[in-house]
Amino acid sequence: MRTAIYCAVILALLPMAAVRVATAGEIVRVQINDMAFSPGEITIKPGDTVEWVNNDFVDHTATAKDGGWDVVIGAGKSARLQFDHVGTTHYFCRFHPDMTGTVQVVGK
């Protein structure tokens, strides 16, 4: 009887687990320290999310050079962006244009 209940609970939870696996990619962190993105170049998979962690006391952005996206990362804060499509994007900080980085999304 107890085994049957466990099975029912597991079966009930399975669809949730399946959904989670399907939507949640990895979170890949890029640290911002002393006016630089670190690592400067990252390679991720479609569905992964990049989280920029701003350890500086000034605001930054991660802005695609092709104009595709623009993320503001406040001083001492972090911000995320999910990447769904394969491709390479070079980005920079709009506030400090000498800060640059690259996100490469490669197929699974």
């Binding site: 002393d34 500086d56 006391f57 000034v58 605001d59 001083a75 506030f95 244009p97 000498d98 800060m99």
Partner: protein, 175 residues
């Protein structure tokens, strides 16, 4: 012949006082360094606010926004540090000279408008950051005794070097 903004020269002269043999023998104290650094930041914030009032150029306005945001953040950090260290920033000949020259430059810029204003403002930003970055590197950072003040000045220098590169790029586009 290269155009050298008059206030850039004046600021260079005011800061050059720091590196004269007479001053070098009597290096600036931490309270004086804090005052010079804060004053330089405040001057740049005021210049940027003037640019935001007068300029219609979106790149110049974006640069001015950056100057206000960053210099305010550095000055807020500096104020918090002097409070923590219980240090009272001390007015001195260099910071007085910087303020006087900045007031003259502001009056000059106020008379200009349009593209002439944009060029004069950005050229002055190049000269100002070159001079301040040089003073930080050669005099203010080496003279700072307190480790936290030295660290803040070093971080400031990294930020201001970025400003110089940004200003130089902007100046080349305005020509």
């Amino acid at each position: 012949m290269h155009y050298i903004p008059s206030s850039g020269l004046a600021v260079a002269f005011a800061i050059a006082m720091l590196t004269t043999p007479a001053f070098a023998a009597d290096k600036p104290t931490d309270p004086q360094i804090a005052h010079i650094a804060y004053t330089a930041g405040d001057i740049d914030i005021k210049a940027a606010k003037l640019a935001l009032q007068k300029s219609q150029n979106k790149d110049v306005r974006a640069f001015a926004d950056d100057m206000v945001r960053d210099h305010q953040a550095v000055n807020d950090k500096a104020l918090a540090l002097v409070k923590k260290l219980n240090v009272t920033p001390e007015d001195n000949a260099t910071s007085k000279g910087l303020t006087e020259q900045a007031e003259k430059k502001s009056a000059e810029l106020n008379k200009l408008s349009g593209a002439a204003f944009d060029k004069a403002y950005v050229d002055n930003e190049v000269a100002f950051h070159k001079t301040v970055d040089g003073a930080l590197e050669t005099t203010l950072i080496p003279s700072a005794s307190n480790g936290e003040l030295k660290g803040l000045l070093k971080t400031g220098l990294k930020i201001f070097k970025g400003h110089l590169a940004h200003a130089e790029h902007l100046a080349s586009e305005l020509k």
